[in-house]
Each structure stands twice: as C-alpha cells, then as structure tokens.
Amino acid sequence: MTISRRQFVSSLAGAGVATMASPNLAFAQNSGPIRIGLLAAKTGPLASGGIDMELALTMFMKERDYTLAGRKVDLIVADTAGVPATARTKAQELVEKNDVHCIIGPLAAFEALAIADYLTEKQVPTLGVAAAEDMTQRHPSPWFVRLTSTSAQCAYPLADYAAKELKYKKIVTIADDFAYGHEMCAGFQRAFEDNGGKIIQKIFTPLATPDYGSYVAQVKNADAIFLGTAGSNGFRFLRQFIEYGLKDKMAVIGGMTALDESVLRNMGDEASGIVTTSWYSAELDNPLNKAFAPAFRKQFKYDPGYYAASTYLSGEVLEGALKTIKADAENKKALMAAIRSNDVETIRGLVKFDEFGNAVGDVYIRKVTRSDGRLVNSVIKTYPDVSQFWTYDKTEFLKGPVYSRDYPPAKNLEL
C-alpha cells in the first residue's frame, strides 16, 4: 500500500510525541505495528459467537486499512476452542510470543476468569466481552475494561419494563445452570420484585440437557417466562415451549443473548413479538451502526448480533484511545488510562466507563418483528446510561455477595 503524506506526517508526529512522553523508549521499538490479540472460540460449542467476533473485528480493521491512529496494526487471532485451559495457553502465547499490546475477548466468562489474573500480572490492557459480574465489581482489574454488559446489567431495564409497561405481575425464569444464567436471573428478579412483581419459579437446566420436554411441562402458570439463556439451549427450549402450546398461554421475554441476531436467523414466525433487552441491536438508528450493520449484512448475508458488535465496538474504543495517546501503544498505562477516560461514540451509542472499568451506556428494549422478509430486533424503548449497579447504591450493592442461584433469595416461589 502507499502511505499518504498526511498519514506519514501524523505517524511521525505520533512517534515524536510518544518519544517525548516516555524518553526511555527506543524509537525503533515504537515504529513497528501495533499488535492486537483477539481471543475467540472458533471451534467447539461456542464457535458461532467466536467466528462472528473474528469476522467483525477483521472487517473493522479492513475498513481502516489496518491502520489505527496513523500506525499499522497486526491482528493476531487465537482460537480458545471455548476451553478455559486453552484460553490460558493462547493468552500466554499472545503475550509472550507475539508480544501483543492489548487483547480483545474472550467470549465466555469461564475463559475470561481463567486468564484474568495472568493478564493483570502481565499488565496487558484487555477489552473484555465476557459478562461475569465480579470482574468489574468485587474483583476489578486495572487492566480490564468491559464494553458490553455484566450478566445482569441489561436485565434490570427489562425487569423495569416488564413491571411498569407490560404490567406483568408473575414471571417464571429459566436459564442455563451456570454463573451467567444465575447472575442474569438474579438481577432480573431483584429489579422486578422491587417493582412489585413476583418471580414464582426459577428453573436452571444443565448445559447438556437432552430433552427440554420435562422442563417445559413444569412451567407454572404466569404472565410471562424470562429466558436467561445463551446460544443453542435457549433456542431449543423455546421450540419445545411452542410445541407444547405454551406460547398461547403466556408471553416470552428474554435477556441479552436469548434471541440474539445469531439465533433469530434460524427462527421462523414463532419468534415474532418476543421482547428482549440488550446493549445492541442490528436495527439501532445511529450513524455508525447505520454504516456497520448493512455492510456486515452485505458481506456475510446475516445481521450482526451481540458477538459481532462486541469486537467491532472494541475496535472503536481502542481506536479512540490510540488517537488520544498518539498511537503510542507501548505505553500501556497511558493506553489503559485513555481507554477508560474516553467517551467514544460507537455502534451501540456513547460508551463511558465507570471506575471499575465497566461500560455505562444505553440499553435497548427490543421486539422481534419482520422487516424485508427477515426477523429483526426492533428497538421499542431506550434506557439511557444504564450502569452495572442500575439504580442501586454502589456501596450497598458491593457489600452484598455476588449474584448466584440463591442470592438474592427468591421469596415468592410457588410450590
């Protein structure tokens, strides 16, 4: 490729300022490309999300000709296979062999937790996607930010909406039996019951559940069922739910991954009308997303969802920070400070970070509708600037234990 004069000048300027800022740094070290590592599960059961993460970030880099803030970028993608031990090995490889300046990902909480301590120890700026609450609450790391949402962050607005606007009184929750599902249902329950609703039944199903029929048949009579699921399990449950004729009896609402665009593209009209919540929708009406979503759809023939958006968003936040520090990615402290202090306009709207490194941003209530022949998540209400602590007092919130299967205790269960 050719380097335009402006790029040349700006990269010179960037290098110059950086050298001034940290005089110990050799110039030669600073002139190579910025190395960015992406940890994504490209094989195994989480592959669908992991592949989208790679596609979107690669697309982001291509759009910028692999140049951020005037400096070339090397993107190194490592496959974690959705296995914590592999994620750890790959993270180590990225840091020690590839000498990356920052890491984006990984997808699953158990992967993120497996590498969190290592990345903190090595002081690698990490732009996370995984949702585990405590990574930005009781055990935050100065080297970690999350641009998406904690497990429960998007569930609060939906609980509010369900109680106040949909006027639901009784809700059943169902989720996969692991931390993500526990935390999301706990947050939903807390906000819903604080608004006068009742959670009358909480069902957690093992990750490997051969037949959802026996669970569907247990669902108690309520106004709605809340799906706190991710990936194929929620989708399989929902199909059985419909087969048993329950969709005519009660409404279905869902968390941020239950009816993600990646699930919707394999569903039919049975999904119509389901209300879910997320920090993103391919239908978002802002200039950046108006460019991103159609371009992604044109290239890959389907809508971007949670996973694709998460890495594209990471790219945007990273680019903003690199511009602030004039592409001096070697200065990790400055990079991290810039990431945390910048308010960046992104495809999900304006992203800010709280002091724990978690995103504060708009959360959208969406409804599945048909548009141009395909199912989409149309935004029906926006909750502005939602924090991971919702409307609760931060200090009080952090005094309590982390959300779990049994915390906060469910007082309104029907036996």
Binding site: T43, A217, N266
Partner: protein, 288 residues
C-alpha cells in the same frame, strides 16, 4: 394428575428417542465388542443432514429424509469400518481411540460445513398442531415418535430373531470363534452390522431433530446417553436396549421434574446401581 400424564408421555417419547439412538450402538457393541464412540457423531451427522435437507427442499417428507440420511451415514460407517477399523482388529484399544478420533473429525466437519448456529429441524406440518386430550396439550410429533421407535424395535426383532442374517449375528455375539469355525463370514458380518448401526443412528438423528435441533456438541450430549442405556439394558441385547431406553426415559423425566437438583446425576445413578449388582446389565447375554 395432568402432571403425571404429561410427564409420563414425555418419558415415553424420550424413551423412544433413546431407543433410536442406542439400538445401533447396542448392535455394534454386542457383535464387535467395540464401544463405538463415533456413534454420537453419526447421530449428529444425521440430524444435520436432515436439518439441511428439510430446510432446502420444503416439500420433503421427514420419513423419507430419515431413510436417506440413514443410508448416507450407513455408507460412511461402512467405509470407516472397512478402511480403518478392520486394520486395527488386533488392537481393541486402538479401535476405540480411532472411533473417538473419527467423532472429532465428523463434529469439526459439521462445524465447518454448517457453522456454529443451531439449525432447527422443522416438525412435519401435519404433526405441528398439539394433540388435545382431556384438557391437556401434548406435541403430536412426540406421540408419533413413540410409535416409530416401537415399529423400529419390532423390525429389528424380526431381523435378528427370524432371519438368516440375524441368526448369524446372534451366533457371532454368543461365540465369535465358534461362529467363524462353522463358516460364518464374521468379518463381513462386522461391516454389515456396523453399517446397520450407523444407519439407525443417522435416521434416528433426523427423527430426533424436531426435538433436539442440530447444534455443535449434539454428539457429545448424545453419546453418554447411548452408553448409559446399553450398560443398563445389557450388552448385546436389543430387548435390553429397548427396556433400558424407556427406563432411562422415565427416570430422567420424573427425576428432573421432581428433584431438579439431581439433574446432573439422575442418569448415572441407576447405571451405577445396575453395574454394582448385575455387571452384565438387566438383560445382558454376556458380561462386558
């Protein structure tokens, strides 16, 4: 009352599904003494083939698709047996490892070909309306599936018990050396049985599709179930696999409904008890 009826029907339909899954495994295990760890992958391959075929050609009938997928998977199984397994016949442990390797290859191939999203297998149109009986609602397809499993069981019973091929298979199961000595072509029998077992798994995969959907990891979810059913029912016994399927169907369904906290171990408890007191399984002809 409604709870017991609905969960009872659920148990039956899960039992039917489990029989379609495990009968092929039982056949292969019985004759070849080979724990075919590719079985879950054969089942998954069937589900994917069904999902893709039924989505692409909307006029296609699920029963025809199941037979077609069964034939494709049977052919693949036959090739695998001829080209790989026979070469390892003196090395039983190697055979088991190879079947495990093959299952990884198939599941990764499915991921490459069809991506990581779950693909639903549509329920046949005429069976989509739930059956309403005495005020409760039950998916019609699940009821039909029980009938299909029973039909398959009867057909297999006739094949094994009433035909010459069946007699040879039974002879091979009971005493392989003796069968060979009296002139039964045991190694050709191996191929036939392997094809048959793989084919039933492939067809069962399609038929289980409307309940399970095709998704990465389906193979690993299904394989332990086949093992549990066969160990419980008894090795080399189709009748054992049949009864074992329905026992597991009932235990799983009522177990997860009545004691949800035990969902993780509910399947393994009966198996452990049976192994402890009756190592050959409930209806086993030979011990493992």
């Amino acid at each position: 009352m409604q709870f017991w009826i609905i969960q009872g029907l659920n148990s039956l339909s899960l039992g039917g599904l489990l029989f379609l899954l495990s009968s092929g495994f039982s056949l292969i295990f019985g004759l070849m003494r080979l724990a075919n760890l590719t079985h879950g992958a054969f089942f998954m391959l069937g589900t994917y083939l069904g999902a893709v075929a039924l989505r692409t050609y909307s006029g296609l009938n699920i029963w025809v698709t199941a037979i077609g997928a069964g034939i494709i998977v049977a052919a693949l199984g036959g090739l695998f047996e001829r080209l790989v397994l026979t070469r390892l016949k003196t090395n039983p442990l190697g055979q088991v490892l190879v079947t495990l390797g093959m299952s990884f290859i198939i599941s990764d191939a499915c991921l490459v070909l069809w991506g990581g999203d779950s693909i639903p297998v549509p329920t046949p149109h005429n069976l989509q309306v739930p059956t309403r009986l005495f005020g409760f609602v039950f998916p019609t397809y699940r009821l039909v599936l029980v009938g299909v499993a029973i039909t398959a069981a009867i057909a297999l019973y006739f094949l094994i018990d009433r035909t010459r091929l069946g007699a040879m298979i039974r002879a091979g199961v009971d005493d392989r050396q003796m069968a060979r000595a009296v002139g039964i072509p045991v190694s050709r029998l191996f191929t036939i049985v392997f094809c048959l077992g793989a084919g039933i798994a492939g067809a069962g995969g399609v038929l289980g599709g409307p309940i399970l959907s095709a998704y990465p990891g389906l193979d690993a979810d299904m394989l332990p179930l086949a093992l549990i059913v066969v160990i419980l029912g008894g090795i080399g016994s189709l009748f054992g696999a049949f009864i074992g399927s329905f026992i597991i169907g009932f235990i799983y369904t009522f177990g997860t409904a009545l004691f949800p906290e035990l969902a993780y171990i509910i399947l393994f408890l009966p198996m452990i008890i049976v192994i402890a007191f009756r190592p050959q399984g409930l209806f086993g002809r030979v011990s493992a």
